[in-house]
């Protein structure tokens, strides 16, 4: 059970949050210019790294805000927490 440091509410237990999956996925458009394959990439394909993963979380039973997390998928270390509009953090091992 992760301890997530919500940028607005401070450290709270994982069960107050909802994970929204990988972050920084650009929505392609307009639809008439998007090929089937490109749309499928957007909908279904994710990086699934062993190591640092950038993902978005919602503090669902708290402030209701979305934000980004850099989480290591091996040991669940959280190495960065940053806003939805912030740039990606520098990659870490």
């Amino acid at each position: 059970m992760l301890l997530i440091d919500c940028p607005w509410c401070g450290p709270r237990s994982e069960h107050e949050f909802r994970c929204g999956g990988e972050s920084h996925i650009a929505r392609p458009g307009p639809p008439e210019n998007v090929a089937d394959g490109e749309w499928a990439d957007y909908l279904f394909y994710r990086t699934n790294p062993k190591g640092e993963h950038l993902e978005r979380w919602l503090h669902r039973f708290g402030c209701g805000r979305w934000f980004n997390i850099a989480r290591n998928t091996v040991d669940h270390r959280i190495t960065a927490i940053y806003g939805m509009t912030d740039p990606k953090p520098e990659p870490r091992a």
């Binding site: 992760l2 301890l3 237990s13 458009g29 639809p31 909908l43 209701g64 979305w66 669940h76």
Partner: protein, 973 residues
Amino acid sequence: MSGARCDGGHAIDRSRPVNFRWAGRDYAGFAGDTLASALLANGVRLFGRSFKYHRPRGVIAAGLDEPNAIVQLETGANTIPNLKAPYVELYEGLNAAPVNAWPSLEFDLMAVNGLFKRFIPAAFYYKTFMWPNWLLFEPAIRKAAGLGRAPEQADPDSYAQASARCDVLVVGGGLAGLAAALEHGRAGRSVLIVTGGAHWGGRLAGGADVIEGANADAWIARALAELAALPNVTLRNRTLATGSYDHGLVSLCERLTDHLPLAARRGPRQKLWRVRAGRIILATGAFERPLVFSNNDVPGVMLAGAALAYRRRHGVLAARNPVIATNNDSAWAAAFELADAGATIAAIADARPAPPEHLVAEAKRRGIAVFTGSAPEKAFGGKGVHAVAIAALDGAGRLTGAAQRIACDGVLMSGGWSPAVHLHSQSGGKLALDPALQSFVPQSLSGAPSLGAAAGDFSIANTLATARGAGAKIANDPVRPLWSISRGDDPHADAWVDLQNDVTAGDVALAARENFRSVEHLKRYTTLGMASDQGKTSNVNGIGILSDLLGRPIPEIGTTRFRPPYDPVTLGVFAGHRIGDGLHARRRLALAAAHEAAGAKMEEYGGWMRPVAYPRAGESEDEAIAREVLAVRNAVGLFEASPLGKIEVKGPDAARLLDRIYVNTVSTLKPGRCRYGLMLDENGTIFDDGIVTRLAEDHFLVGTTSGHAVTVAERLEEWLQCEWIDLEVVTQDVTGCWAVLNIAGPLARTVLEGIESDIDFGREAFPHMTHREGRLAGLEARIARVSFSGELSYEIAVPWRDAARLWDALLQAGAPHGLSLFGIEALMTLRIEKGFLHVGSETDGATQPQDVGFAGALAAKKSDHVGRRSTSRPDSVRDGRRQLVGIAMADGRPVEPGAHIVRPGAEGEIGSDGWITSAAWSPTLSAPVALAMIDGGFARLGEDVRVWNLGQWREARVVEPCRYDPQGARLNV
């Protein structure tokens, strides 16, 4: 001879006798006894029958590592299976029985399995009972094999849960834990120290060791007094750390009342703690390993450290004339202390050729026979050991030469100590083999450092120094590895490794021969290390035997993975208050009491308790539904629609946002008007539908289905916060702020016009699909003229607190016009007659808007919206997709949702064209009405099909979904 009470016993109070019942007989012990110590003191050695062979078994250990003495506590609703006798605290009136003995413990018919032991090796069942079907044999085998019985009645106890945080969590209340708690407590940190048992001090309590110049009990008492006086330190006994998780989370199970007589128990039985600790210190101690020799499961064979624990804690000699068998120093000290307490040590056999001289000298001084370089070959006895054969070991550790038979009433063994690394390993810590201890010790120090015996440190002085941050890495005296004691290379088939699962050294050898060489495979093939003790006494021995057999060093074999829980935890404490009505919140309507008073039958729909129908005396539910439907069609009905989702969307970009959310265009809607809209997810699947109302240029009210309000509100926010961050919009879910009553039927306007209001309900002033705000019966009201029934219909929203006043006003004004209450089943019938879509009934995860008649809306939309691109995938535009139609039954009899539709003449073929999604009896048409999703449905209107309904073929025809007033004339009145 067997066990008896001796002097000492720090845990017991000899002035307080406690009566209890075991296997149908009455016994007495003392307050502070465990069930195991009290039975041993009464001379009982036979505690149960083994899992597979029903062999007689006694107690092996003195804690939760006990594999053998498994009991069923209490009876009826209070019964608890598979408790470990050394971990059950004695209380007045306790009633316990052995498990897996039939018909009785002394005479067990199933013990015949033991006679055929050599025919039932590992995996015998799976290999033998394969034809024709394992399931045929399983019930009989399960009856013969097994442990206790689960209770058959509801759990009468309650359970609590709590969260806590602290700077330092110390797991373990022995010397190492107390020293660490003192260190951090004195430094002013918030400390929580827990111990699983009732008493503090661990193995040292009640013993003769000297700690910092004081005797052990005095040191422990002083430490506890100081800790209790520190306001920043919390002590919890009977609190077992059961799991170590990410980010410093540890689960604790506190036993609040298990030690009390049944009649004296008050409040929750157990409490689950979730503790977040800045730092975790694991002082969890170590488990002693048995020696693996023939008949090492005979009652009376037990761990030397356990015998010492019974003597120190409870003043009990488990055996009065034991033989000590060991491969390390610890059992010698135990032998001397037991001798001091009155035991006559028959002999000490040490596998090491040259044990430390001072130990040998002390034994000689006491007149104890010493066998060096020797090990037990075989124990003798059925329901209790009466002799053991000791033989010499050669350099390779094999038995050699003639064995000497020594009479005894117990064999106290020690195969070395294995640190309790479970929590360390669960939290991701690595393990390494300590060659001196021949056991796995915690390796990485990040996160949760281990201390004392848990770290493989058995020195009092060094443990104290390490707790204070000054300890050295100490070199332990080497044990002689002795994983399986045998003559020759083949392990003995009657030498037990895992006593709880009846796994022998021979089973491990069989698994190795059959090429189960990974320790994980060994575990699953032989069941070694499974069940309620999770191999606390057997895992390392099993790994050692496999290492010997394969000729590969132990670190290469590795361990199986440790997973929570450390010891079995009651399901009740995991559930906590989330049982019965507490399982999930049921939401009550604004007018729940009024519905109940009006005779409504209430059921749960999407989390809300809602009226199904309002049956009158003598009326069936179906009759009530039919009456309510006809009332709406012919006069007027009243329905509570408060659960309808209501989300306010406001801001300069509100229209732009909703254009991107709905399939329909929202920005062209004029203030005061309503529009039906469909929402998709990005896969193009229909996600929700409802009425969107423009309250003002920059202000909308998004209506959702009753079950989806929260999810839709959350999705709007996700798009706004994560994707369209440039839009200036705020949203607010106001579902619970507004109660909604729906008045529907040709007389609805007449009723409303009879109530005081500043709203003009006239046909031209307030047309269909428009919205008005004003006052009705003196209440602030938002009224939408929308219809899910196909009749003239108004949804009237008032502040939740005003619901009853609106209800009363409508009932009063409606009475002269025959106003009838209607429930959700009548509403569903009305909408099926009209062929209106119900998201979740007609639609599933593959349904797109073009499948339910919204191809035109998709084509008319000029801009992008959520899911739009997915509606032009090749699969979305192919012919023959499953589409919404109506189904008319030829025989006029009702049909069930879920019935499959098959082309004519297809009898006997496997395959389906789709299925009935909604069906009802239409009192309006005096006929069944049904909606269905069928392949290529739009092109099949008028086609005759067959319907497979509840085991019968039925004839039917594909028709338009709308069966009543297809022109919508009744809405334009």
